[in-house]
């Protein structure tokens, strides 16, 4: 006679093997290790960038000066209000100080990179042009003329 309930007859089910689980997690881990970079700044402002299609890569980090513009985030400080602010070097600075801080960042660069230094403006989508214009005129005063409006990759119509 054929035994149909072969498994039921044995005392218990064999345990499900979880040996491949570490492999899967390691694959995820390696993925994150390769596509991300260590955070070197703590964002104090909201920073959702606009999108653009005609972008150029800023892959050489050693010649980039980053400036963040946006509303202060809630957790950074509660009494800063809603006005967009400028963040450089992990702290809020005023428009007048931008030149000084940019020059400071420039002076820490090696000599041969100073002429190709690029300022990356990372401004939030909620920012108005006024503060950007002020920022740009400050940068012109200190003769940092190469700027990059850092954006996400995507259709430009999404901004409207």
């Amino acid at each position: 006679m054929i035994k149909f309930n072969k498994y039921r007859s044995s005392k218990s089910l064999p345990p499900v093997s979880t040996a491949s689980l570490p492999d899967i997690v390691f694959i995820l881990l390696f993925f994150f290790m390769t596509v991300t970079v260590m955070k070197n700044q703590n964002l104090l402002v909201e920073n959702t960038l606009p999108t653009a299609t005609e972008t150029e890569k800023l892959d050489k980090k050693d010649r980039v000066i980053e400036i963040y513009v946006g509303k202060p985030t809630n957790d950074s400080n509660t009494n800063l209000g809603d006005e967009p602010r400028i963040q450089m070097d992990n702290k809020f600075i005023t428009v007048d100080e931008v030149g000084d801080y940019a020059l400071q960042a420039l002076s820490s660069m090696p000599e041969h990179l100073k002429s190709v230094a690029t300022v990356s403006i990372k401004a939030d989508v909620g920012v108005k042009m006024g503060i950007i214009e002020d920022l740009k005129s400050e940068l012109r005063v200190v003769n940092l003329l190469k700027i990059n409006y850092t954006t996400y990759e995507g259709a430009a119509e999404d901004n409207l």
Binding site: F32, T36, D124, L139
Partner: protein, 205 residues
């Protein structure tokens, strides 16, 4: 009987936990980088240089407080902006005999639009209350217009798109001799369609 016994299985359950801990550590300490954007070069900070620009060679784009985009006096849809900018740059409005006639232009050759791509200037003006994303969109469209024209000429002259030449030039795996050729090509194309984008001071209101 002793030899046929299965070897004891090592319990790997905790390995997953370790891997998860590592994964979570990387999730919190790293960020996915966004390091691409629109490159622009600002003019130096001296306003002594006054250049005489003919009205026909100037394409005015304005963004108002309500984020409406105005080009050449009309409010336009940003979708049509690229087309208009291309038509303006590529117009080549001089007559065949005149000096500076643009023989590679494929535009409509209107007498009231730009003389040749070298003279064509885009002026972009935003108000203090215009939003930044709209400004980026306009910049993007203007750069896209130039890139499209450069692509066309690059395909015609060298049979490769401008983008490929550009990215190859900055590719470190390409050897020096090849880079020289690429540089020459880049310069030729850039001379055909030089990017001239003007940004007058924003008016306070």
């Amino acid at each position: 009987m002793k030899n046929h016994r299965n070897p004891q299985e090592v319990n790997a359950g905790s390995m997953a936990d370790i891997a998860f801990l590592l994964l979570i550590f990387f999730l919190v300490t790293t960020s996915i980088e966004n390091d691409a954007g629109l490159n622009r070069i600002m003019p130096p900070d001296d306003n002594n240089a006054i250049v005489d620009i003919k009205e026909r060679n100037l394409f005015e784009i304005r963004i108002n407080d309500a984020d409406l985009i105005m080009a050449e006096g009309d409010i336009i849809d940003p979708k049509n902006l690229r087309e208009k900018v291309i038509a303006f740059i590529d117009n080549g409005g001089l007559t065949l005999e005149a000096e500076g006639y643009c023989n590679y232009c494929k535009g409509n050759r209107f007498a009231d639009s730009s003389e040749n791509p070298d003279k064509a200037i885009i002026s972009l003006k935003a108000q203090r209350n215009s939003s930044y994303p709209v400004y980026v969109t306009v910049q993007n469209e203007v750069i896209a217009a130039y890139n499209e024209l450069r692509d066309r000429e690059s395909l015609r002259l060298f049979n490769t798109p401008y983008k490929t030449i550009y990215s190859d030039y900055y590719n470190e795996e390409i050897n020096e001799d090849k880079k020289k050729v690429l540089k020459e090509r880049l310069e030729i194309i850039r001379a055909l369609y030089p990017q001239k984008i003007l940004e007058p001071e924003t008016v306070n209101n």
